[in-house]
Assembly symmetry: C2
DNA sequence: TAGATTGTTAATCGATTAACAATC
DNA sequence: TAGATTGTTAATCGATTAACAATC
């Protein structure tokens, strides 16, 4: 594997390049210039070229970058051979929205289970994903060898769930509750707090 | 007003400080030290002190920071006097989740309308928010003087909606679709792409 | 006092952007 | 060729962290 430990922001953009390039491919194009990719994402061509430099991909002066090759290369960087299993904890509107998104985006990430405590939801299947009772969390996580957990529960139980996930051997957590979590070093944690996003927009709107 | 144009990240943390401090206040505490605030968010005390320095708030050596005062100060920075009106465009699971969140968090941001094209949703009220047909978007936005728009539609229509929002005089847009948008300078744009977040976690889990 | 804490400047780290040589 | 493009180094910008004087 090339260039280990890519910058955070580069990884994010690689994910976006790949999706945009897949669209372009459908339109029948085979090659693309850095300024065209930049246009799709509304960033600068230099940034695109620098990112591609970091992953060691080179284009040609006359035709730019080979779209298929680039898509494949990004795949070898982001995806794992066999894909990674994902669980959603909390089957509210947000949990459902996430399951829905995954369903549409064919990716190497596979949501294989959801969890909730509401009896009406247990054992129901939502767009192909079965919902289990929270009691079974550790059991199913270990059995299925699930690598990533997405927390969309009420904030009050977020910490407790993070502990259970960690104990069950999870390797990455995406926390959508506004409760800040802390996890051991070997677990990768990414937090996204909607309220903060709203208030941030409000602030910048105010002083515009 | 103090210290104009705060750093992006400081604004985000101020929002989080405020919510954490509100909790602490309920527990009967009146004062708090920087290392305690830091503990709540799992960041460093220096970072807390630096943020507070930027907004010009000072504590005391013996008692730390006055929680109520600090909450109020953050309010004068982030909130506007009369609050700001918000519209959610796209009444799917994600739109509903957002409306729900707002409902629980009493804030100066007020979701006053939702929009969709599904006839079954039109004119229904979801946790206090009425859903209108997309046709009425410009009309209601102008009439109600809505400042912020949250886009949770399918990505295919995101650009078109951003144009309409802009024309209707919106001042900030939060884009939850994976389609990158571009807006005029006078509109503040914040994008959040879930798929990118998932793939980012997957990448860092892979190379851990 | 000694120890704990604040407020702030300087140093470092990470990410973007500018500048430009090389090439088709 | 001239113009457009790539790949890459150096400069800049933004954010975090280290260091430390001041003070109760």
């Amino acid at each position: 594997m090339i260039a280990n430990r890519l910058p955070d922001k580069t990884v994010e953009r690689l994910s976006q390049y790949r999706r945009s390039l897949n669209n372009v491919l459908l339109q029948g194009k085979t090659h693309i210039f850095s300024h065209e990719i930049a246009g799709l994402l509304h960033i600068t061509p230099v940034q695109v070229r620098r990112d591609l430099m970091l992953i060691g991909y080179t284009g040609t002066l006359r035709r730019g970058y080979d779209i298929k090759e680039l898509i494949n290369l990004i795949g070898t960087i982001i995806d794992t051979e066999k894909g990674q299993k994902v669980a959603v904890i909390g089957m509210g509107n947000l949990g459902k929205a996430i399951i829905h998104y995954f369903h549409e985006t064919r990716s190497k990430l596979d949501i294989v289970a959801a969890f909730d405590i509401n009896p009406e939801k247990i054992n129901k299947v939502y767009v192909g994903v079965k919902c289990y009772h929270m009691n079974l969390l550790e059991k199913i996580l270990s059995e299925e060898n699930i690598a990533i957990g997405i927390i969309t529960t009420p904030p009050e139980v977020a910490s407790e769930i993070a502990v259970k996930l960690t104990q069950a051997g999870i390797r990455g957590i995406l926390n959508y509750t506004p409760k800040p979590l802390s996890v051991p070093d070997h677990v990768y944690l990414e937090e996204y707090d909607m309220i903060t996003s709203f208030e941030k927009v409000a602030y910048f709107v105010k002083y515009h």
